[in-house]
Amino acid sequence: MNEEVNPLPSLEQDQTSEQTIEEIVASLGDTVGQPRVEDPKMSVSNVDVFYGDKQAIFGVDLDIANNEVVSMIGPSGCGKSTLLRCLNRMNDTIPICRVSGELTLDGEDIYSKDTDPVLLRARVGMVFQKPNPFPKSIYENVAYGPRLHGLNRNKADLDDIVVNSLKKAGIYNEVKNRLDESGTSLSGGQQQRLCIARTIACSPEVILMDEPCSALDPIATAKIEELIDELRENYAIAIVTHSMQQAARVSQRTAYFHLGKLVEVGDTDTIFTNPRHELTENYITGRFG
């Protein structure tokens, strides 16, 4: 079925010729749908991202609201992870990466000279594709952030933060008797929830998740998705995912990226039931028929 509906230009082709990418991107036209929301937590305006000479993101506008999950979907290499990593300036660690345009958190430009990326990353937490607990105890993993930022006044405070974070990440009951065991001794799904607990412990305002379930089995995935839904009550969440069911299950709004361009964005229900852009429709139907 994939063979029949496959108008997506292959990525290899695009990478060989600079001209083609730009032409294709131009041919995609303007973003379909409504990228703006009222009272956004984070706002992305006309953002371009370059890796060296290669442009990875083309003029993207997107808002992330409080108490909402925005999912970013699209084929591999479409720039969704790149954009996510711009939101807490993790791309700063890549020397050849250059970002232009405006990204704001609560209306403040996060790429301005006054913004400290270190403080930004405490406010905008990130959960990675592969669970990456530190080779320390479970307790130390969660206490890491609060210790760094001096969020606790004393040991009892820290204990509270750790326990609450673990509870919010829905893992407390599984680990409460072995907080001093190594974080790496947990199963993959538990490790990922530990990483979420670790992020929550820094009391962030926004949580970014980069394919948080792609290394997990279906049961662990279901637990994380349930957790994401609960976390929505307190945080603004952006999630990059390859699984369209996941996007449909956990998110309120969905953004479809193609070759670094935001093609379509809108309510998740609308996108999945009634996509307006041809590429979005092809992507969604092409995978599932």
């Binding site: 990675f128 990456n132 080779p135 990483c195």
Partner: protein, 456 residues
Amino acid sequence: MLLLIIFVLTSIAYVVGRSRAATLRKNGEQLHSLPRYYGYLTAIYTAVPALLLLAIWSASEPTFLKQSTVKTLPAEVQSLPQGQLDLVLNDIKNIATGGITQTADDPLREASAKHYNDRKNTSQLLKSIVVLVASILGALYGLRKIGIHTRARVFVERAMMTVLIACSCIAIFTTVGIVLSVLFESLRFFNKVPFTEFAFGLHWSPQTSIRADQVGSSGSFGAVPIFAGTLLISAIAMLVAVPFGLMSAIYLAEYASSNVRAWAKPLLEILAGIPTVVYGFFAALTVAPLVRDIFEGVGFEDVASESALAAGLVMGIMIIPFVSSLSDDVITAVPQAMRDGSLGLGATKSETIKRVVIPAALPGIVGAILLAVSRAIGETMIVVMAAGLAANLTINPLEAVTTVTVQIVTLLTGDQAFDSPKTLVAFALGLMLFITTLILNVIALVVVRKYREQYE
């Protein structure tokens, strides 16, 4: 010459064996293996028995020659003690080969020498014939074996395995041999000097008298001062090497751009390639006077011109590449996900390194440091040149001290009697040194292995 002939025969055997097998194959025989394996098989049958015979013959030849020559000597010479008999035989051998002799012409010895030469020539001739015959017989046997019933590939594989096992056995047996010889010589030493005196004695003065009435006739073998010297110098070296090595490793692994890393790392590793002799005279001629001048300048008195500090400093510099290169490898091996996780939580780069990267790499770093320590303890040349010979029991780094390796060198250079405690103590020291570095290496290996398991 003989070896060359065997080689040629082997090559011929290979070619013939292979072509014969190929012919058989062409004629429709269901051979077990490819023709070249039959070639190898024939070659092995040609070479191995012949070479074995050659080796055995060559090894036993001198003994037979000696016995045969001794029989030609008069009875009173034959009854001489072993040592003098050996001298006479040596003389005869020298006459036979036209070398320089001790004694003037002696018809008796001339006769013996002639006998020796005759026997030797006969032996050589016989040896050549026997070996060549063995080689040819082997080749014929190998050629006869070519056929459907011989599984040449299996045979060749087994032969390869035997060769490999033999090679590794040689390495292992050499190690065992060295350890055992050091061990037995040490036991001889401990027969003469009690172990407790060696291990706990505080006075080191290994000079023993040759005659009973000589001054200073009693050597004393307390090894504590020299082990203390070794530890002092190693400690100074580690104080230099660990911080510098570790920090340069962190810089190279975490901060340096790939360009800087590309030339800085090899440059650092060149330090490891400088011969220790060069470090030694650098320490003795440049660093030691400098250390003395500096410390006398700030008011210290009695700074020795050969000080533990100078030797330790230079040794530390020598060891930097060991620490930095190994640490760099383990730091680079820490997964990027760890760094991302920490940075994503709002840690700065140095916080990430301090709290996540270094702890994660710590076992590997410890392993690197322990390897460096055993290297420092075993280092000889620098301390010989720069640390001095006086066995002072001191922790003052400005005094001259001596180390185990230096003492072994001084004990064993020059003419020595190999049964006096003075010489034998070198083996005891060597044994202790060996045990120390062995333990350190074992700990290092265990630690490093534990580290590897963590990320599997």
